[in-house]
Symmetry: C2
Subunit: 121 residues, 2 copies
């Protein structure tokens, strides 16, 4: 049998849009998603789950109501469940998200920046 690893950089070549996560793998009922972040997102939270961000390139700030997490390539941060956050990137950054299947990018906020779920590449 032939087995192949998933190369993150190769997967990023398959899409350009910012704020639209793409699913690349599943681990039990969790998903690995690649996303490009560019500019400011909306304040939101996920009451039912933590959410992990691993920055692969560029710079990301995760704003929190009482502070902020400054991130660069090779940085990991887990936003705890229920904590309001707003990802902001001054220029495009590439991020690997890890979270349970079915989590919406806008959490409890919704609105027109909500991504369609489960777009695989």
């Amino acid at each position: 049998m032939k087995y192949e690893a998933i190369n993150l950089a190769e997967k990023f070549k398959l899409f350009d849009e910012a704020w639209q996560p793409r699913v690349i793998a599943e681990l039990n009922d969790y998903q690995f998603k690649l996303v490009r972040l560019d500019g400011e997102f909306v304040w939101h939270k996920h009451d039912e789950t933590d959410e992990a961000f691993l920055v692969l390139s560029g710079e990301l700030t995760i704003e929190l109501r009482d502070g902020a997490v400054k991130m660069k390539a090779g940085d990991l941060y887990v936003v705890p469940r229920g904590v309001e956050h707003k990802p902001t990137s001054p220029d495009e950054c590439q991020v690997l998200l890890i979270e349970p299947r079915g989590v919406a990018n806008t959490g409890d906020t919704g609105g027109d920046r909500t991504a369609r779920e489960d777009v695989w590449i």
Copy 2:
């Protein structure tokens, strides 16, 4: 409040031993673990869970009974639950493991290469 991201490269400076995973973060009941792999490990499987490998540096081969996954930095692979595997690295490689809390590195095989669980750095 001051919040800080976890830098993977900085965390790797805190330990040298191969095959001894270190926990750096949790996501619900899942853990992010850093591990150095060097040489051959033991054949084992995890009947209760998938296991994700993200290679950060070096080269890793995950041998499977009917094939193998060749991996380099930036490659992700999820070993499905119940699938026997043997990680092998010709020279040291650095890996981020993601799996549920409480998973032993040697799975159902056990033995003297079993790491103590939950050593945080």
